[in-house]
């Protein structure tokens, strides 16, 4: 079974802190994704990566950055956390075929619920 793990289930940080959310997948997937999930807003894509050291902005990249130094690991960074970044953060991964991102199922991690005080 594909396994996507995230470093923390719950995290509490203070405004202005630098926050790292880590995600690791064990199925050699090319694609990795970071979403945030908020009530009434569904899942919104923050960043995705289709290869090591490659990254693309999603719908809401402001206030976030990412790092992918190894194929299995994709990190989401909040340079200076703010209260409006309190949310559930979901990481996902998928295989890529024919250079397309939209043709394969995504496997999600359990999520990290981040609270910024």
């Amino acid at each position: 079974d594909v396994k996507v793990t995230q470093s923390s289930r719950y995290l509490v940080k203070r405004t202005g802190e630098k926050v790292f959310l880590e995600c690791v997948q064990d199925m050699d997937h090319e694609n990795m994704f970071w979403y945030r999930q908020d009530p009434g807003l569904g899942l919104r894509l923050i960043y995705f990566s289709y290869d090591v050291k490659m990254k693309e902005k999603g719908d809401i990249p402001e206030g976030y950055s990412v790092s992918r130094e190894k194929k299995e690991r994709f990190s989401l960074i909040l340079e200076s956390a703010s209260t409006n970044q309190t949310s559930m953060y979901l990481c996902a991964s998928s295989f890529m075929t024919s250079g397309s991102l939209s043709y394969n199922e995504q496997f999600f991690g359990p999520g990290t619920r981040l609270t910024v005080l």
Partner: protein
């Protein structure tokens, strides 16, 4: 940009009743995916539809892709308490609908 609208936002049904959620896109989709998220859980892939007019079934779940590939539906026959959760569709460019939260009253 592309938008994926999903209705209804909430649905409460008696156990045994049928349930349908609809997904509508502002642009033509090359494919559409459906996911289910149980309360407190993470989204889990259910199915992908690719062909115009495609219909796929998984036990009590029936998935349809519109002829114009701009809409899709998920229908559950005779709901059970195990069907509780939020159902999301996802289209091109990794755009998810906001989901339909299903509650089943036993």
């Amino acid at each position: 940009g592309q938008q994926v609208m999903q209705i209804p936002q909430y649905q409460h049904v008696q156990e045994g009743e049928d349930f349908t959620t609809y997904c509508n896109s502002s642009t033509t989709l090359s494919n559409i995916q459906w996911y289910k998220q149980r309360p407190g859980g993470h989204p889990v892939f259910l199915i992908q539809l690719v062909k115009s007019g495609e219909v796929k079934k998984q036990k009590r779940l029936t998935f349809q892709f519109g002829e114009a590939k701009k809409n899709s539906s998920l229908h559950i026959t005779a709901t059970q308490t195990t069907d509780v959760g939020t159902y999301f569709c996802a289209g091109l460019a990794l755009v998810f609908g906001k989901g339909t939260r299903l509650s089943v009253i036993a």
